[in-house]
Assembly symmetry: C2
Amino acid sequence: MAKDDALDVAERVHKAAIRMLRAARVADATTGLSAPKLSALSVLVFGGAMSLSALAKAEQVTAPTMSKLVGDLEAEGLVAKRADKADKRGLRIEVTTKGRALMEKGRQARLALLTARVAKLSRAERAQLDAAAALMLKLAASP
Amino acid sequence: MAKDDALDVAERVHKAAIRMLRAARVADATTGLSAPKLSALSVLVFGGAMSLSALAKAEQVTAPTMSKLVGDLEAEGLVAKRADKADKRGLRIEVTTKGRALMEKGRQARLALLTARVAKLSRAERAQLDAAAALMLKLAASP
DNA sequence: TTAGTTAGTTAGTCAAACTAATTATATGCG
DNA sequence: CGCATATAATTAGTTTGACTAACTAACTAA
Protein backbone atom coordinates (compact mmCIF):
# COMPACT_ATOMS: atom_id res chain seq x y z
CA MET A 1 0.00 0.00 0.00
CA ALA A 2 1.40 3.38 -1.04
CA LYS A 3 -0.48 5.29 1.60
CA ASP A 4 1.99 4.73 4.42
CA ASP A 5 5.11 4.88 2.30
CA ALA A 6 7.58 7.24 3.99
CA LEU A 7 7.86 9.56 1.00
CA ASP A 8 4.13 9.93 0.58
CA VAL A 9 3.60 10.59 4.26
CA ALA A 10 6.44 13.14 4.29
CA GLU A 11 4.86 14.80 1.27
CA ARG A 12 1.41 15.08 2.80
CA VAL A 13 2.63 16.24 6.20
CA HIS A 14 4.89 18.78 4.56
CA LYS A 15 2.16 20.27 2.45
CA ALA A 16 -0.40 20.25 5.26
CA ALA A 17 1.97 21.98 7.69
CA ILE A 18 2.74 24.66 5.12
CA ARG A 19 -0.92 25.33 4.44
CA MET A 20 -1.86 25.39 8.09
CA LEU A 21 0.89 27.83 9.05
CA ARG A 22 0.16 29.99 6.03
CA ALA A 23 -3.43 30.29 7.19
CA ALA A 24 -2.28 31.17 10.72
CA ARG A 25 0.14 33.79 9.42
CA VAL A 26 -2.57 36.31 8.70
CA ALA A 27 -2.85 36.91 12.46
CA ASP A 28 0.70 38.25 12.74
CA ALA A 29 -0.32 41.72 11.66
CA THR A 30 -1.84 42.36 15.09
CA THR A 31 1.61 42.85 16.65
CA GLY A 32 2.83 45.49 14.24
CA LEU A 33 6.10 43.57 14.24
CA SER A 34 7.69 42.07 11.12
CA ALA A 35 7.85 38.30 10.72
CA PRO A 36 11.64 38.03 11.25
CA LYS A 37 11.49 40.12 14.42
CA LEU A 38 8.52 38.24 15.80
CA SER A 39 10.23 34.96 15.07
CA ALA A 40 13.49 36.00 16.72
CA LEU A 41 11.60 37.19 19.77
CA SER A 42 9.78 33.90 19.95
CA VAL A 43 13.02 31.94 19.88
CA LEU A 44 14.32 34.06 22.75
CA VAL A 45 11.17 33.60 24.80
CA PHE A 46 11.16 29.83 24.38
CA GLY A 47 14.88 29.20 24.25
CA GLY A 48 15.87 31.74 26.90
CA ALA A 49 18.65 34.32 26.70
CA MET A 50 21.39 33.46 24.24
CA SER A 51 24.31 34.89 22.27
CA LEU A 52 23.82 36.68 18.98
CA SER A 53 25.50 33.89 17.03
CA ALA A 54 23.30 31.25 18.65
CA LEU A 55 20.21 33.25 17.78
CA ALA A 56 21.44 33.76 14.21
CA LYS A 57 21.97 30.02 13.85
CA ALA A 58 18.53 29.23 15.26
CA GLU A 59 16.97 31.60 12.76
CA GLN A 60 19.14 30.40 9.90
CA VAL A 61 20.50 33.85 9.10
CA THR A 62 24.02 35.31 9.26
CA ALA A 63 25.40 37.17 12.26
CA PRO A 64 25.23 40.64 10.63
CA THR A 65 21.57 40.13 9.75
CA MET A 66 20.79 39.17 13.32
CA SER A 67 22.92 41.99 14.70
CA LYS A 68 20.73 44.48 12.84
CA LEU A 69 17.50 42.78 13.88
CA VAL A 70 18.53 42.67 17.52
CA GLY A 71 19.61 46.31 17.31
CA ASP A 72 16.15 47.25 16.10
CA LEU A 73 14.43 45.15 18.75
CA GLU A 74 16.63 46.76 21.38
CA ALA A 75 15.73 50.24 20.12
CA GLU A 76 12.07 49.32 20.52
CA GLY A 77 12.73 48.12 24.05
CA LEU A 78 11.79 44.53 23.30
CA VAL A 79 15.14 42.93 24.09
CA ALA A 80 18.22 43.90 26.12
CA LYS A 81 21.87 43.11 25.49
CA ARG A 82 23.99 42.10 28.46
CA ALA A 83 27.72 41.43 28.45
CA ASP A 84 28.74 37.81 28.76
CA LYS A 85 30.70 37.49 32.01
CA ALA A 86 32.83 34.60 30.80
CA ASP A 87 33.64 35.96 27.34
CA LYS A 88 34.10 39.67 26.81
CA ARG A 89 33.44 39.36 23.08
CA GLY A 90 30.06 37.83 23.66
CA LEU A 91 26.52 38.98 24.39
CA ARG A 92 23.53 37.63 26.22
CA ILE A 93 20.37 38.75 24.49
CA GLU A 94 17.38 38.81 26.81
CA VAL A 95 13.72 39.50 26.19
CA THR A 96 12.32 42.40 28.20
CA THR A 97 8.94 42.31 29.91
CA LYS A 98 7.59 44.47 27.11
CA GLY A 99 9.04 42.15 24.49
CA ARG A 100 7.57 39.12 26.15
CA ALA A 101 4.15 40.76 26.28
CA LEU A 102 4.19 41.73 22.60
CA MET A 103 5.35 38.30 21.50
CA GLU A 104 2.66 36.72 23.62
CA LYS A 105 0.06 38.93 21.99
CA GLY A 106 1.02 37.77 18.50
CA ARG A 107 1.16 34.20 19.64
CA GLN A 108 -2.30 34.47 21.14
CA ALA A 109 -3.70 35.89 17.91
CA ARG A 110 -2.26 33.02 15.91
CA LEU A 111 -3.42 30.45 18.40
CA ALA A 112 -6.89 31.94 18.69
CA LEU A 113 -7.26 31.41 14.98
CA LEU A 114 -6.10 27.82 15.15
CA THR A 115 -7.90 27.03 18.38
CA ALA A 116 -11.25 28.06 16.94
CA ARG A 117 -10.71 25.54 14.19
CA VAL A 118 -9.32 22.79 16.38
CA ALA A 119 -12.36 23.16 18.62
CA LYS A 120 -14.57 22.05 15.75
CA LEU A 121 -12.81 18.70 15.55
CA SER A 122 -13.95 15.65 17.47
CA ARG A 123 -12.24 14.58 20.64
CA ALA A 124 -10.63 11.70 18.76
CA GLU A 125 -9.37 13.98 16.02
CA ARG A 126 -7.81 16.32 18.55
CA ALA A 127 -6.05 13.37 20.13
CA GLN A 128 -4.78 12.34 16.72
CA LEU A 129 -3.47 15.81 16.04
CA ASP A 130 -1.78 15.91 19.40
CA ALA A 131 -0.03 12.60 18.86
CA ALA A 132 1.18 13.81 15.48
CA ALA A 133 2.56 16.98 17.04
CA ALA A 134 4.86 14.87 19.17
CA LEU A 135 5.98 12.99 16.06
CA MET A 136 6.66 16.19 14.13
CA LEU A 137 8.84 17.44 16.97
CA LYS A 138 10.71 14.18 16.76
CA LEU A 139 11.21 14.70 13.01
CA ALA A 140 12.46 18.22 13.62
CA ALA A 141 14.94 17.14 16.26
CA SER A 142 16.15 14.09 14.33
CA PRO A 143 19.89 14.13 13.51
CA MET B 1 -7.98 16.46 31.13
CA ALA B 2 -6.04 19.39 29.72
CA LYS B 3 -4.26 17.34 27.15
CA ASP B 4 -7.00 17.40 24.52
CA ASP B 5 -8.17 20.91 25.18
CA ALA B 6 -8.40 22.75 21.86
CA LEU B 7 -5.98 25.51 22.87
CA ASP B 8 -3.33 23.10 24.08
CA VAL B 9 -3.60 20.98 20.97
CA ALA B 10 -3.43 24.05 18.73
CA GLU B 11 -0.37 25.17 20.65
CA ARG B 12 1.48 21.90 20.29
CA VAL B 13 0.60 21.40 16.63
CA HIS B 14 1.59 24.98 15.87
CA LYS B 15 4.98 24.67 17.50
CA ALA B 16 5.68 21.25 16.04
CA ALA B 17 4.81 22.35 12.50
CA ILE B 18 7.08 25.38 12.81
CA ARG B 19 9.99 23.31 14.04
CA MET B 20 9.54 20.64 11.42
CA LEU B 21 9.41 23.11 8.53
CA ARG B 22 12.33 25.06 9.92
CA ALA B 23 14.39 21.89 9.91
CA ALA B 24 13.33 21.14 6.33
CA ARG B 25 14.14 24.67 5.18
CA VAL B 26 17.87 24.08 5.19
CA ALA B 27 17.44 22.03 2.00
CA ASP B 28 16.16 25.00 -0.02
CA ALA B 29 19.68 26.22 -0.75
CA THR B 30 20.14 23.43 -3.31
CA THR B 31 17.98 25.23 -5.88
CA GLY B 32 19.85 28.52 -5.86
CA LEU B 33 16.41 30.15 -5.84
CA SER B 34 15.17 32.46 -3.09
CA ALA B 35 12.37 31.37 -0.79
CA PRO B 36 9.70 33.70 -2.27
CA LYS B 37 10.50 32.61 -5.83
CA LEU B 38 10.55 28.94 -4.91
CA SER B 39 7.26 29.32 -3.11
CA ALA B 40 5.58 31.14 -5.99
CA LEU B 41 6.83 28.52 -8.41
CA SER B 42 5.47 25.80 -6.17
CA VAL B 43 2.03 27.40 -6.09
CA LEU B 44 2.04 27.53 -9.88
CA VAL B 45 3.08 23.92 -10.22
CA PHE B 46 0.41 22.67 -7.84
CA GLY B 47 -2.31 25.18 -8.58
CA GLY B 48 -1.76 25.34 -12.33
CA ALA B 49 -1.49 28.47 -14.46
CA MET B 50 -3.18 31.50 -12.94
CA SER B 51 -3.42 35.27 -13.11
CA LEU B 52 -0.95 37.53 -11.38
CA SER B 53 -3.49 38.72 -8.87
CA ALA B 54 -4.51 35.16 -7.97
CA LEU B 55 -0.87 34.27 -7.42
CA ALA B 56 -0.31 37.38 -5.32
CA LYS B 57 -3.28 36.50 -3.16
CA ALA B 58 -2.12 32.91 -2.72
CA GLU B 59 1.26 34.16 -1.60
CA GLN B 60 -0.20 36.88 0.61
CA VAL B 61 1.69 39.68 -1.12
CA THR B 62 0.55 42.68 -3.15
CA ALA B 63 0.24 42.70 -6.93
CA PRO B 64 3.31 44.89 -7.52
CA THR B 65 5.46 42.58 -5.39
CA MET B 66 4.30 39.60 -7.39
CA SER B 67 4.69 41.48 -10.67
CA LYS B 68 8.38 41.96 -9.88
CA LEU B 69 8.87 38.36 -8.75
CA VAL B 70 7.18 36.98 -11.85
CA GLY B 71 9.26 39.33 -13.99
CA ASP B 72 12.43 37.91 -12.45
CA LEU B 73 11.23 34.32 -12.84
CA GLU B 74 10.38 35.03 -16.46
CA ALA B 75 13.84 36.50 -17.08
CA GLU B 76 15.31 33.27 -15.72
CA GLY B 77 13.10 31.24 -18.03
CA LEU B 78 11.20 29.57 -15.19
CA VAL B 79 7.73 30.90 -16.00
CA ALA B 80 6.03 32.31 -19.10
CA LYS B 81 3.35 34.97 -19.34
CA ARG B 82 0.51 34.39 -21.76
CA ALA B 83 -2.30 36.78 -22.59
CA ASP B 84 -5.70 35.88 -21.20
CA LYS B 85 -7.98 35.30 -24.17
CA ALA B 86 -11.15 36.32 -22.38
CA ASP B 87 -9.76 39.42 -20.67
CA LYS B 88 -7.16 41.50 -22.47
CA ARG B 89 -6.02 43.10 -19.22
CA GLY B 90 -5.23 39.73 -17.72
CA LEU B 91 -2.33 37.28 -17.73
CA ARG B 92 -1.96 33.55 -17.44
CA ILE B 93 1.30 32.74 -15.70
CA GLU B 94 2.58 29.30 -16.59
CA VAL B 95 5.53 27.31 -15.31
CA THR B 96 8.01 26.31 -18.02
CA THR B 97 9.57 22.87 -18.22
CA LYS B 98 12.75 24.34 -16.80
CA GLY B 99 10.83 25.96 -13.95
CA ARG B 100 9.03 22.77 -13.15
CA ALA B 101 12.31 20.85 -13.04
CA LEU B 102 13.97 23.35 -10.72
CA MET B 103 11.00 23.49 -8.36
CA GLU B 104 10.89 19.70 -8.30
CA LYS B 105 14.56 19.60 -7.41
CA GLY B 106 14.06 21.83 -4.37
CA ARG B 107 11.00 19.90 -3.36
CA GLN B 108 12.88 16.63 -3.59
CA ALA B 109 15.69 17.97 -1.42
CA ARG B 110 13.22 19.04 1.27
CA LEU B 111 11.30 15.83 1.10
CA ALA B 112 14.41 13.65 1.07
CA LEU B 113 15.31 15.23 4.39
CA LEU B 114 11.89 14.59 5.85
CA THR B 115 11.45 11.18 4.27
CA ALA B 116 14.67 9.89 5.83
CA ARG B 117 13.24 10.80 9.21
CA VAL B 118 9.73 9.56 8.56
CA ALA B 119 11.21 6.25 7.48
CA LYS B 120 12.55 5.72 10.99
CA LEU B 121 9.05 5.81 12.45
CA SER B 122 6.92 2.75 12.92
CA ARG B 123 4.16 1.87 10.52
CA ALA B 124 1.61 2.96 13.11
CA GLU B 125 3.33 6.29 13.65
CA ARG B 126 3.39 6.97 9.92
CA ALA B 127 -0.33 6.27 9.78
CA GLN B 128 -0.86 8.65 12.67
CA LEU B 129 1.11 11.35 10.91
CA ASP B 130 -0.81 10.82 7.72
CA ALA B 131 -4.16 11.12 9.45
CA ALA B 132 -2.99 14.34 11.10
CA ALA B 133 -1.96 15.73 7.72
CA ALA B 134 -5.55 15.45 6.56
CA LEU B 135 -6.69 17.24 9.70
CA MET B 136 -4.18 20.04 9.25
CA LEU B 137 -5.40 20.60 5.71
CA LYS B 138 -8.88 20.83 7.14
CA LEU B 139 -7.72 23.45 9.64
CA ALA B 140 -6.05 25.41 6.86
CA ALA B 141 -9.13 25.40 4.67
CA SER B 142 -11.54 26.14 7.52
CA PRO B 143 -13.55 29.39 7.09
C1' DT C 1 -21.38 56.96 -23.32
C1' DT C 2 -19.24 57.80 -19.57
C1' DA C 3 -18.26 56.76 -14.68
C1' DG C 4 -16.42 53.48 -11.85
C1' DT C 5 -13.83 49.12 -11.24
C1' DT C 6 -10.30 45.76 -12.05
C1' DA C 7 -5.60 43.93 -13.97
C1' DG C 8 -1.18 44.79 -14.28
C1' DT C 9 3.03 47.83 -14.34
C1' DT C 10 6.22 51.57 -12.97
C1' DA C 11 8.49 54.48 -9.56
C1' DG C 12 10.16 55.20 -5.17
C1' DT C 13 11.02 53.80 -0.40
C1' DC C 14 12.18 50.75 3.37
C1' DA C 15 13.34 46.35 5.60
C1' DA C 16 16.01 42.34 5.57
C1' DA C 17 19.13 39.33 3.48
C1' DC C 18 23.95 38.67 1.90
C1' DT C 19 29.48 39.29 1.63
C1' DA C 20 33.61 41.62 2.90
C1' DA C 21 36.14 43.90 6.09
C1' DT C 22 37.03 45.70 11.05
C1' DT C 23 37.69 45.46 16.04
C1' DA C 24 38.28 43.04 20.16
C1' DT C 25 39.05 39.06 22.65
C1' DA C 26 40.32 33.94 23.15
C1' DT C 27 42.99 30.04 22.37
C1' DG C 28 46.69 27.19 21.27
C1' DC C 29 51.21 25.88 19.63
C1' DG C 30 56.20 26.25 19.12
C1' DC D 1 55.72 33.62 26.60
C1' DG D 2 54.44 35.49 22.24
C1' DC D 3 52.49 35.26 17.96
C1' DA D 4 49.27 33.06 14.73
C1' DT D 5 44.78 31.75 14.19
C1' DA D 6 40.03 31.51 15.44
C1' DT D 7 35.74 33.45 17.17
C1' DA D 8 32.03 37.25 18.54
C1' DA D 9 30.00 41.03 17.13
C1' DT D 10 29.72 45.13 14.33
C1' DT D 11 30.08 48.26 10.23
C1' DA D 12 29.75 49.23 5.29
C1' DG D 13 27.81 48.37 1.00
C1' DT D 14 24.85 45.70 -2.16
C1' DT D 15 20.76 43.09 -3.64
C1' DT D 16 16.20 41.32 -3.04
C1' DG D 17 11.62 41.62 -1.65
C1' DA D 18 8.06 44.06 0.62
C1' DC D 19 5.07 48.20 0.61
C1' DT D 20 2.18 52.57 -1.23
C1' DA D 21 1.09 55.76 -4.79
C1' DA D 22 0.24 56.66 -9.25
C1' DC D 23 -0.43 55.21 -13.96
C1' DT D 24 -2.39 52.79 -18.35
C1' DA D 25 -5.50 49.71 -20.39
C1' DA D 26 -9.60 47.31 -20.51
C1' DC D 27 -13.91 45.74 -18.72
C1' DT D 28 -18.83 46.67 -16.78
C1' DA D 29 -22.92 48.77 -15.79
C1' DA D 30 -26.04 52.83 -15.16
